[in-house]
Symmetry: C2
Amino acid sequence: MKSFKEMSREELLSQKAELEKRVEEFKAMNLSLNMTRGKPSPEQLDMSNHMFDSLSEKGFKAEDGTDTRNYGLASGLAEVKKLFADVLDTSADNIYIGNGSSLNLMFDTVMRAMVWGEHDSPKPWAQVEGRKWLCPVPGYDRHFKVTETCGFELIPVPLKEDGPDMDIVEELVKDPKVLGMWNVPCYTNPDGYVYSEEVCRRLASMKTAAPDFRLFWDNAYCVHHLYKEEDKQGRIPDILGLCKEAGNPSRVYEFASSSKVTFASSGISCIACNEENYKHAVKYINVQTIGANKINQLAHIKFIPDLDALKAHMSRHADILRPKFELTNEILERELAGTDAATWHKPQGGYFLSVFTLPGTAKDVVARCNELGVAFTPAGATYPYGIDPDDSNIRVAPSFPSLEDINKAVEVFAVCVKLSAVEKLLSV
Amino acid sequence: MKSFKEMSREELLSQKAELEKRVEEFKAMNLSLNMTRGKPSPEQLDMSNHMFDSLSEKGFKAEDGTDTRNYGLASGLAEVKKLFADVLDTSADNIYIGNGSSLNLMFDTVMRAMVWGEHDSPKPWAQVEGRKWLCPVPGYDRHFKVTETCGFELIPVPLKEDGPDMDIVEELVKDPKVLGMWNVPCYTNPDGYVYSEEVCRRLASMKTAAPDFRLFWDNAYCVHHLYKEEDKQGRIPDILGLCKEAGNPSRVYEFASSSKVTFASSGISCIACNEENYKHAVKYINVQTIGANKINQLAHIKFIPDLDALKAHMSRHADILRPKFELTNEILERELAGTDAATWHKPQGGYFLSVFTLPGTAKDVVARCNELGVAFTPAGATYPYGIDPDDSNIRVAPSFPSLEDINKAVEVFAVCVKLSAVEKLLSV
């Protein structure tokens, strides 16, 4: 299709009429669809339904003989640590296993630093006036909310196809008030980009003014490939190894969870870090809790005993998710290609994609969709403080709805994107 | 038996010789017994083994239709809140359901106050120089450790048969630096005392200098009766109601868990509080986590659907625990009654009892037991900073060992208590 930007006023008006006709048709359908939530679908959840069935029959003993029904093994089952270590391509020595929410582990890690500092902190972070945190954008709103709530000024950093803009990051970390940075290195939320090895190396080796600067490395989607892994998509290097190699061994806390492997919010999660960070964290975690749910850990490791089993399990997830992502992409291509009304990246994994509409139209698009009964994540949600300075980015979550719902919802979305663009261009 | 304190030197020496002979006999047995841990026994854990068996068959839907396998219902299942409300004799409106560790909920509650203060705080607790916390003694070491780690000065308060010495408490809370107080109101850890209604009322109504003073009300053993409830043992009033009635509605955070109902560390837990505290807490909890394990909540509520089911389940626990507590008490009676070498209270519930040895001998007793292969909780552990000023209190945990092990271990213990006492008296 011809670019809207190159259309004459008459052409735009004719587009507008056509699009408004389609909107009327959508209205008549009384739709009620939801594309907001990065949730696994029921079919995906069904894959793990039988995880608990034979627990009582097989007994509740961990590999080392520990009775998982009782107190003990506060940092987690060794065999579960090993699986996470294999997933993250790191050592099992300094892995702590938590409950379902890896966000909880991240929040608690910030809170420990707020009250006691890190092992290499000049003072507790709560005492650092004007503390700042780097936020690659667009990004994950719940990450941003953690450091916002803890009183950090959130500094947006543009995210490129190969990761955060490192020239900018390297400048920003010269400020001693910059204490950390959010990262979803593999299939960024929401764009689905994968950090390049070079970006990872630069993050690991850059000079930071704060001695206790921390990368929060949320490897949420590290095994969540839509296509075969051999395609080399979604392979990122072991960041812990890179940081050690670069002489910054304490720079990173890595996180992962099974939320989109087994059950969202009822899975297991982990922190992986170096020995100093581990000792420091566990000193406080051992005051905080008697440990995470070990029966759930056991159920998980019996159900998914090793990396091969995990890969096989994840490829069944991919078989369910891939058509949804491809359908979404097809509709966007069909409706929007060539119009210049939107750009987007086609992710090879993860749970989201994100669409950049004509600047100044994202809120309008989401409002139009809502009016037609199709819910999208509020525009701006992918930016610190919920403010997208370009009013352009919209997160699309195709995992939960059925193909039929996606088919309709994304068409509605694309039509609204175009209509907003046309009206914007006409108003100039 | 005649009181050691009234014995002549000759009588004491004869006692000593007799006791040393028994010690030699114990030595020859090469014992390896453990009385340190307040853990449920395998037989108790077996009672809940089949909790997960039929989850997949019955489906994973909460009563309101929510799929517990997915995100949502971050504050917990309504039916689980209702059960905890029934247990705590309070309303389900302001209950948050957490994962297995109620200690974790307590720690997090202190941490929120450290960083942001309570809703009625003049400033965050981390900014209160010289902050203090009241600790009824003997008490629970892990409670003490939480507020110690958060920089509070721990102020011991003597615990009496009806609860903390309220004359002392009422004086101490006139200090605006005193921000809170630990409580295990029902079957105190380790003495097994039950707070009287009068003590509860005084705690609820006393004037505190700190406007944001908080009672941490760890109702860990509220359904953990060894005898029939009708005996009126272990009935404490609803503290939330009392605080409201007294005009101090925000004074208390109440906690409970299923750690000693189903599985230790793999159960469910709760915070119950008033609306202002709830709103304040949940505002931050919703930033911290996507919620606790809902499948585990569902498994629990299907297994124990209501208060009657819970009482029936707990009476089966009591049937296993009661003989252990009674045997412990019998041996202590047989060996120690009349000697004045020790005093103790016979608990009607909970997980511990505690023995007060002759002042200055507790460490010696524990060391002697250890030498004979019988492990007891380190003397002092039940006091702030691990220091019992009288060196007199020893916690005894009879829940985990078998009757046979208890029989031997408590005999060894009693003999060591006597030997230490005799030597102490001889040395004066």
